[in-house]
C-alpha cells in the first residue's frame, strides 16, 4: 500500500444564509470546519456525532454533491475538488454512496434491475442480456433473489430496498463506499442483517467504508477507527477499541455514557450534558464544546484546541485532557459524577 486511499485535508464547508447582493457580509452556517482524516484501503472509518454536527455534509462533500468552501479531498493522491466534469465522471467509479433513507433514495418509477444497473450503464453500453446478468449477479451479492429485478421499490420491504441501495453502490466495483446513516431507518433486526452484509462485502471485496452514524452500538460493531464530531469539527479520532475503552475527549465520554446499553444490570455512568448544541451560525469562541463541558477552563473560552496526537495513535482536541505543548499520555481528569 502506498499512502491512504482517501485523504481529507482541512475540509471546510460554509453555507451562506441567503444571497448577499445588498448585504456586505452574509451570515454563514459553519457546517464543516477544518476536518482532516484519512482512510486506508479495506478499512472502516466511522464518523459519529449528534444530528447537525456536519456528518452528512462530509458525506456530500466526499461525493462532491456539494462544493467545499476550502480544503482538499484526495483519492489515491488526486484532489477531486479540482476535477473538471469528465475527469470527475471517471473518478465516480472509485467511490460510491449508500443513502440513509431506503424509500426516497430509489426512483419509484424504475424497477430494481434498472436501479442497480444504471451506474454501470453510465459508463458502458450493455445489451439486454448483459444487463440482466449484471442485475442478477448484484442481487445475489446482496442476498436477494434474481427474480426481484422486475419489482418496483414500492413492492419491496425496507431491508430489501436498502440491499438494493447497496447493490447500486457495488455496481461500479468501488474501492470506497460512503454510507450515510445507512441503517438508521431500518428495524433493529434488519439493521443487523445489513451491517453483517456490509462486513461480508468488505471482507470479500476489500472495500473501505466511511460509515456515518449516530448509533454508537452500530459503530462499535463495525468500526476500525472512529472520528467523533462536534459542531463541524473532529474532536477525537481513535482506534475503535481504544475509543470505547477509554474516551479522552469529554464530549466522547459523555456520548458513550449516554448511549443505551442492552444490559439492565449494568450501572450507567451519568455524565449529564447540559444544554443544546450551539448554533453553527454563531459557534462559541474557543473550543465549541466549552459551554457544555464540565472540565472547561479559561483557555477553552479563548483558544480553539488543536488536534493533538496521543501515544496510542489517537488524536484529541482538548486543552484539558490533551494539552498541545506536552504530547504525552492523556491526563485523565475524572468528570464530576451525577451523585
Amino acid at each position: 500500500m502506498t499512502g491512504p486511499l482517501l485523504k481529507v485535508e482541512n475540509l471546510t464547508k460554509h453555507y451562506p444564509l441567503g444571497s448577499g447582493i445588498f448585504k456586505k457580509s452574509i451570515p454563514v452556517i459553519r457546517a464543516v470546519e477544518d476536518v482532516t482524516f484519512s482512510v486506508e484501503a479495506g478499512e472502516t472509518l466511522c464518523i459519529v456525532g449528534e444530528s447537525g454536527c456536519g456528518k452528512s455534509t462530509i458525506a456530500r462533500l466526499l461525493m462532491r454533491l456539494v462544493e467545499p468552501t476550502g480544503g482538499r479531498v484526495l483519492i489515491d493522491g488526486t484532489d477531486i475538488a479540482g476535477l473538471k466534469k469528465d475527469a470527475l465522471h471517471a473518478w465516480r467509479r472509485r467511490m460510491q454512496m449508500v443513502f440513509q433513507d431506503p424509500y426516497s433514495s430509489l426512483n419509484p418509477r424504475l424497477t430494481a434491475g434498472q436501479i442497480i444497473t444504471e451506474p454501470v450503464e453510465n459508463f458502458e453500453r450493455l445489451s439486454r442480456k448483459q444487463r440482466n446478468a449484471l442485475a442478477a449477479d448484484l442481487l445475489q451479492k446482496v442476498g436477494m433473489s434474481p427474480e426481484m429485478m422486475h419489482r418496483l421499490p414500492s413492492e419491496l420491504s425496507g431491508g430489501q430496498r436498502q440491499r438494493l441501495g447497496i447493490a447500486r453502490a457495488l455496481a461500479l466495483k468501488p474501492s470506497l463506499i460512503i454510507a450515510d446513516e445507512a441503517v438508521s431507518a431500518l428495524d433493529v433486526s434488519v439493521q443487523a442483517q445489513i451491517l453483517n452484509l456490509l462486513l461480508d462485502l468488505q471482507q470479500q471485496m476489500g472495500i473501505a467504508f466511511v460509515f456515518i452514524s449516530h448509533d454508537l452500538g452500530v459503530v462499535e460493531h463495525i468500526a476500525h477507527r472512529v472520528a467523533v464530531m462536534y459542531l463541524g469539527r473532529i474532536v477525537e479520532l481513535a482506534p475503535s477499541e481504544a475509543l470505547f475503552a477509554k474516551p479522552v475527549h469529554p464530549y466522547t465520554e459523555a456520548l458513550i455514557a449516554a448511549a443505551p446499553v442492552p444490559d439492565p444490570t449494568r450501572v450507567r455512568l451519568e455524565v449529564p450534558l447540559e444544554g443544546e448544541m450551539p448554533s453553527p451560525i454563531n459557534p462559541p469562541k474557543g473550543c465549541a464544546f466549552h459551554p457544555r463541558c464540565p472540565l472547561a477552563i479559561e483557555r477553552c473560552r479563548i483558544e480553539v484546541p488543536p488536534l493533538v496526537p496521543m501515544a496510542d495513535g489517537r488524536v484529541v482536541a482538548c486543552h484539558v485532557r490533551a494539552p498541545a505543548e506536552r504530547q504525552m499520555q492523556p491526563t485523565h481528569v475524572d468528570l464530576q459524577l451525577g451523585h
Binding site: 456530500r60 461525493m63 454533491l65 465522471h89 465516480r92 467509479r93 460510491q96 454512496m97 443513502f99 440513509q100 433513507d101 426516497s104 433514495s105 430509489l106 426512483n107 419509484p108 418509477r109 424504475l110 444504471e118 451506474p119 453510465n122 459508463f123 441501495g165 447500486r168 455496481a171 461500479l172
Partner: protein, 281 residues
C-alpha cells in the same frame, strides 16, 4: 401506471369513471371528425333554394342561411376545434417543459424566464389574438400561437415547481453519485415526475383553447370565415335563432359537450395520478 390493455377497460371505467366518460366522448368526437367525408356532405356547397331548412332525411340538422348542410359544417367544424385544442395543449406542454426544466435547473435563466412569464401573464388572450391576426391575417397557426402564449406562464411554472422539488430527492443525488450526466438525470429521473401534472394542466389548456377559438371565430378574428368552425357558425346563425334553431344548437351543443368531456378527462386524470388513489390500484 404500466401498459393499458383492452381487458383493463372495465376496471378503468369502475375506478375512474371520469376518465372513461371524458376520454370516451373525446375519442368518439375524434372518430366522427376524422370520418366526416365518409358520411357527411360538403360543408361549403351553397344552395340558395334550400335556405334555413328544418332537419330532414336529406340534411339531418337542416341548412343554414346560405343553404349549407349544418351537419356537415358541424362535423368539419369539430376538426378545427379539436386541432386547435389538441395542438394548443401539446405546444403549451412542450414549451412549458422546456422553459420549466431549464428554469428549475439554472438560476440565471430562472430569474430572466420567470420575469418574462410574469409579463406574459398580464396579456389578455383575446386582445393578443386580435392584435396578432390584424398583423398577419386570419389563420389557424397564428390562432394557436395567440392561445399558447398566455398559457405558457402557468404551465412552465408548474413544471419548474415540480423540477425544484424533485431535484432535491435522494434518488436524484444517488443517480449523480452513480455517474449519471445531467441530461440523463433530467430525462430519466426528473421529467417523468412532471408528466402527471402536465396531463391534467394540458386538459385544462385544451378546453380553454377550444373555447377561445370559438370566441375568436364568433368575433370574426378566428379562422377565416369560409372554413366552418363552431364559433363562426354560431356567429352567423344567431340572427336566425327563432327560424332555424338547429343552426345554432348543433355547434353550440357540440362545443359544450366537447369542453365538458375534456374537463371531465382532466379531473379524472388528476384523480388517477393522485398518489393517494394510486395505492389502491
Amino acid at each position: 401506471m404500466g401498459r393499458l390493455r383492452i381487458s383493463d377497460l372495465p376496471r378503468l371505467a369502475r375506478r375512474h369513471p371520469l376518465v372513461f366518460v371524458g376520454g370516451g366522448i373525446l375519442a368518439l368526437l375524434i372518430i366522427l371528425a376524422l370520418a366526416a367525408p365518409l358520411y357527411a356532405g360538403d360543408p361549403l356547397t351553397m344552395d340558395p333554394f334550400k335556405r334555413l331548412q328544418p332537419p330532414s332525411a336529406e340534411m339531418w340538422f337542416g341548412s343554414d342561411n346560405l343553404g349549407r348542410d349544418v351537419l356537415a359544417r358541424t362535423v368539419f367544424g369539430a376538426r378545427i376545434s379539436l386541432i386547435v385544442g389538441l395542438s394548443a395543449a401539446a405546444a403549451t406542454a412542450l414549451g412549458g417543459v422546456l422553459i420549466g426544466v431549464l428554469a428549475g435547473y439554472n438560476r440565471g435563466f430562472d430569474n430572466v424566464a420567470m420575469r418574462v412569464m410574469d409579463g406574459l401573464m398580464s396579456i389578455p388572450t383575446i386582445l393578443l389574438a386580435i392584435a396578432l391576426i390584424s398583423l398577419t391575417g386570419p389563420g389557424i397557426g397564428i390562432l394557436i400561437i395567440a392561445i399558447v402564449i398566455p398559457q405558457l406562464p402557468s404551465v412552465s411554472r408548474l413544471v419548474r415547481s415540480v423540477v425544484l422539488a424533485v431535484r432535491e430527492r435522494p434518488y436524484v443525488e444517488a443517480a449523480l453519485c452513480g455517474g449519471a450526466r445531467l441530461p440523463k438525470v433530467l430525462w430519466r429521473h426528473i421529467m417523468p415526475s412532471t408528466i402527471p401534472p402536465l396531463m391534467v394542466q394540458g386538459a385544462i389548456v385544451c378546453a380553454d383553447a377550444i373555447l377561445t377559438e370559438a370566441a375568436l371565430s364568433f368575433l370574426g378574428v378566428g379562422v377565416p370565415p369560409e372554413i366552418p368552425s363552431w364559433g363562426n357558425m354560431i356567429a352567423s346563425s344567431r340572427l336566425y335563432l327563432a327560424i332555424a334553431p338547429m343552426t345554432i344548437f348543433a355547434p353550440g351543443i357540440c362545443l359544450a359537450v366537447t369542453v365538458l368531456a375534456v374537463n371531465l378527462l382532466g379531473d379524472g386524470l388528476r384523480d388517477l395520478f393522485d398518489p393517494r388513489s394510486k395505492r389502491r390500484r
